[in-house]
């Protein structure tokens, strides 16, 4: 009987073995990162449903730039007396979907290019490497500004550029992985078994062996998307007032910094800091935990 119980335990311990063997530091990173992801998701949901503590455009001229915890405003108000918390929550709308779109573009394009470069090699490989070098040597913000100038300052255009420019990096990572895996005998034995090439690529290479890498790139990509969005909004090219975004909130608050009213600008800046940090730590922790299993 004892033997039976022991067997069951073995099979169950398998389910989350990667988590059990993870180091303490990485666990903290991942938990913090997941908390940030959750907070972003909740904020996005609240914003979409308009379940907000205040009307985001409701101006209270009796309490301009109030500090936190004053007059029913949990995080205080901005220079027009609008609730900061409400506008911070609503600010996630600015980058959430566009960010996902950028990630999707980067991952899909990167995976396709990376696999074809790694599996077929030759000319595709050369093109991918060349594109990567080209994009690396070109400031991304300038490229985004060019697109804005050519089309219109729409966040989706911006994020499309972000996605496309992130793709070569993902491609080179996937390519490295494919080159590494192609020498492994299990690919050859999969061919010997009669598994079609496309199944080998999609299932054995991408799904089983690149999913961790792609997930990590997705979290880092989200951080990147947030930073680009906030930089542009700060410069005034991103989301336009009165629609709130963290970048334009920092920018609007910055005008009052010298008067000593640092809070309306610092609150969104801290939100950016903790969110981007969260995505980075999540990516870092997952990288250490999942990739180390190799």
């Amino acid at each position: 009987m004892l033997f039976r119980q022991f067997q069951v335990e073995i099979s169950e311990s398998n389910q989350l073995s990667w988590w059990r063997t993870a180091g303490r530091k990485n666990k903290i990173y991942v938990i913090y990162g997941l908390a940030v992801v959750l907070a972003v998701l909740v904020s996005y949901g609240l914003g979409a449903l308009h379940w907000l503590p205040h009307d985001p455009d409701d101006m209270n001229f009796d309490s301009l730039m109030a500090g936190p915890f004053t007059g029913g405003y949990l995080l205080g108000t901005d220079f027009m007396g609008r609730d900061l918390l409400t506008r911070l929550i609503l600010g996630t709308q600015a980058y959430f979907l566009p960010g996902l779109m950028a990630i999707a573009i980067a991952l899909v394009l990167g995976a396709v290019l990376g696999v074809s470069a790694g599996y077929r090699g030759g000319r595709v490989d050369t093109v991918v490497v060349y594109c990567n070098n080209l994009i690396d040597s070109f400031p991304r913000l300038i490229l985004v500004l060019l697109v804005i100038a050519a089309f219109k300052p729409d966040i989706y255009y911006i994020m499309a550029v972000v996605g496309v420019t992130a793709a070569p990096l993902v491609a080179s990572l996937v390519k490295g992985k494919v080159l590494f895996l192609r020498q492994k005998n299990f690919i050859e034995s999969a061919i010997a078994l009669g598994i079609p090439a496309r199944v080998i690529i999609i299932k054995h290479i991408l799904w089983y062996n690149c999913r961790a890498l792609l997930l990590i790139q997705a979290t880092l990509g989200m951080a990147e998307a947030i930073l680009i969005e906030t930089s542009l909004s700060y410069l005034g090219f991103g989301v336009q007032e009165p629609i709130p975004s963290w970048g334009n909130m920092v920018q609007a608050g910055a005008n009052y910094l010298l008067q000593g009213n640092f809070w309306p600008s610092t609150a969104p800046a801290l939100a950016i800091l903790f969110t981007v940090l969260g995505f980075h730590l999540l990516g870092d922790g997952l990288n250490d935990i999942l990739e180390r299993q190799q």
Binding site: S11, L193, Q294
Partner: protein
């Protein structure tokens, strides 16, 4: 049960290698990994393919399975020429001919559980099976190779060498092959596990009527499992015959040296006359003209280095010396 399942005619596999780093593309030299080998294998039979490391055993196996393109020659499976089939056309044949790879981890994607590995193998050539039927089949496979059900949820890294080998065998059996090319299935296993694997392979042969091309350099195991043996030297078959003939009465000097090098020397008569010559480092990639074995051959030296052995025009060919026994040598040993 005596029909020929696999026939290999004059199979050649050459690799090309640039002479120097950055040498022009045309400036390559040819490495004859497999040079003109022919044999056949009957259903339910085992052919042992032996020879030292680097003699082209594995390359021959992979070329037969079309994992490497053949340079020349013909491969007939059940009488059908499969040499020039496209990948797509060849795929249906793959379910009939499988390979057990030398590398224990070869069959196993490190990120897949054993269950997924086996289910995939079952479904490759019978996608119409329901998931319940697949489960039943996976259970049968585990029973066939004596593995416990609880191994199913484990990852390859959590299995021992013998268990990995069993999973590898179960995976090849999943497609119900008729021919299995076993590339050193016992390497990297300790002796007791080797015996288990060999017994398993023999039991499966009796039960399922499998044919094996058993590639190995472990001569005792080859003797144990094979009906016929082909001895390879530098890409060529130098002697081929029934196992007992090869093991007890070898006619080629190389075969004799191979067998006499068994640690457990059986009798004086097989070991006494021939002593291995100077086995220095030998360049496998550039075999000598004429008889490839000449530079190491004790008979060549004893006969006063006859030019027939080194002249490319008179290189020895495989000749029948007895019923079903062929030797590639100008001066075969006495039976």
């Amino acid at each position: 049960m005596t029909d020929t399942i696999l026939e290999v005619k004059n199979l050649v596999k050459h690799f090309r290698q640039r002479k120097r780093l950055l040498a022009p593309r045309a400036d390559t030299e040819i490495i004859p990994a497999v040079d003109d080998i022919s044999f056949y294998l009957r259903a339910g039979e085992t052919l042992g393919l032996v020879g030292e490391s680097g003699c082209g055993k594995t390359t021959a196996g992979k070329t037969i399975l079309k994992l490497l393109p053949a340079t020349a020659g013909q491969i007939l499976f059940n009488g059908e020429d499969i040499t020039h089939l496209e990948r797509r056309q060849f795929r249906p044949y793959r379910r009939h001919m499988q390979m057990i790879f030398q590398d224990l981890d070869a069959a196993l994607n490190p990120k897949m559980r054993i269950r997924d590995v086996l289910q995939e193998a079952v479904k490759v050539h019978s996608p119409q099976l329901s998931s319940a039927a697949v489960k039943v089949r996976v259970g049968e496979l585990l029973d066939l190779v004596n593995l416990k059900q609880n191994k199913l949820v484990q990852f390859p890294a959590e299995l021992s060498g013998g268990e990995k080998r069993r999973v590898g065998i179960a995976r090849t059996l999943a497609v119900e092959p008729k021919l299995i090319i076993a590339d050193e299935p016992t390497s990297a296993l300790d002796v007791s596990i080797q015996a288990q694997v060999i017994n398993l392979m023999r039991a499966l042969q009796n039960r399922l009527g499998l044919s094996y091309l058993f590639i190995s350099h472990d001569l005792q195991l080859v003797e144990l499992i094979s009906h016929k043996v082909a001895v390879m030297y530098l890409g060529q078959i130098v002697e081929m015959g029934v196992t007992q003939q090869i093991a007890r009465a070898p006619r080629h000097p190389y075969t004799r040296i191979l067998w006499s090098s068994l640690v457990n020397k059986r009798t004086l008569e097989t070991t006494a006359p021939v002593v291995a010559g100077n086995w220095g480092v030998y360049d496998f990639e550039r075999p000598a003209a004429g008889c490839r074995f000449a530079s190491r051959c004790p008979i060549f030296v004893a006969k006063g280095k006859p030019s027939a052995c080194t002249d490319p025009a008179t290189a020895p060919q495989l000749k029948g010396v007895a019923e079903g026994h062929q030797v590639r040598c100008h001066f075969p040993l006495k039976a």
